[in-house]
């Protein structure tokens, strides 16, 4: 595998790949700093994106929604 084969999209999807495909890529990464950096950066980007999941809805909104669900008439 070379840099061209290891396309940008494949780098971005590295974390989702099956272990056998990953192994083939890992071979390439041992000798290619550029692709290795791109994959490390992608993994870091995904980790930080996951942190955005710590936010949630306002408590008042949730209570209001719960009350509506329990009381609403079926239409």
């Amino acid at each position: 595998m070379n840099c061209h084969e290891l396309s940008k999209e494949l780098i971005a999807g590295y974390v989702d790949l099956a272990p056998d495909v990953r192994r083939e890529i890992d071979e390439h990464l041992r000798t290619c700093d550029r692709c290795r950096i791109q994959i490390q950066n992608t993994v870091a980007t995904i980790r930080i994106t996951e942190q955005l999941g710590s936010t949630g809805a306002r408590r008042e909104m949730i209570i209001r929604l719960q009350q509506k669900i329990i009381r609403v008439k079926r239409g």
Partner: protein, 197 residues
């Protein structure tokens, strides 16, 4: 009781008209659906409307839910549709989830990428990077944004995202990879500037 078993039991009760059971089934999805709606809609008010309308729609249609996907996945699907409907009413940011994707620049073709992976995961810098990412997310085309929120923020699987959006799995993966690349390159620009100053 296993999670799937509990969900099936609550679903059965909810479909028989038990509102408490419906809420118990739906409540864990409020935060994820809010996170999705907040990134689809331009205002907090519209986002909260989409959340409320999505759950009321789910309550109304619960009899039609056949349990072929997880309930949470089904709610994501409803929320995307409710969001789209509201946008169309506002006649703004109208889009299609299977619209062709425009190519983007910033391919990193000319310059060697800088390695920001360690800096980005440092606690303080990670908070700043999260702010940069939030802005970058806003700038993403809405079809890519929807997929990133579902997959990387709300932690649905690729299969679940495909089910929720009724897109082929390959299309979901391709868009996800595209979106992650754009976000990564935006973070790269941010860290390159920091290092340069």
């Amino acid at each position: 009781m296993e999670e799937a078993e509990l969900e099936a039991s609550l679903l059965e009760k909810a479909q028989a008209g038990d509102r408490e059971a419906f809420w118990e089934l739906a409540a864990p999805s409020v935060d994820p659906i809010y996170r999705l709606a907040r990134r689809l809609m331009k205002t907090e008010e519209d986002a909260e409307d989409v959340v409320q309308e999505s759950f009321l729609k789910a309550l109304d249609k619960i009899g039609e839910f056949q349990g072929k996907s997880r309930f949470n996945t089904w709610l994501h699907r409803i929320a995307v549709n409710q969001g789209l409907m509201k946008m169309r009413k506002r006649r703004s940011d109208v889009f299609s989830l299977d619209a062709p994707i425009k190519g983007e620049n910033g391919d990193g073709k000319a310059m060697d990428p800088i390695d920001f992976s360690e800096s980005a995961l440092d606690e303080l810098q990670s908070r700043e990077a999260a702010g940069v990412l939030e802005t970058a997310l806003e700038d993403l085309p809405i079809d890519l944004r929807t997929i990133v929120v579902m997959r990387d923020i709300n932690r649905l699987s690729n299969d679940e995202v495909a089910q929720a959006l009724e897109l082929p799995l390959g299309a979901v993966k391709w868009r996800l990879h595209r979106a992650r690349s754009i976000l990564r390159d935006r973070l790269g620009e941010y860290f390159a500037e920091r290092i340069g100053t």
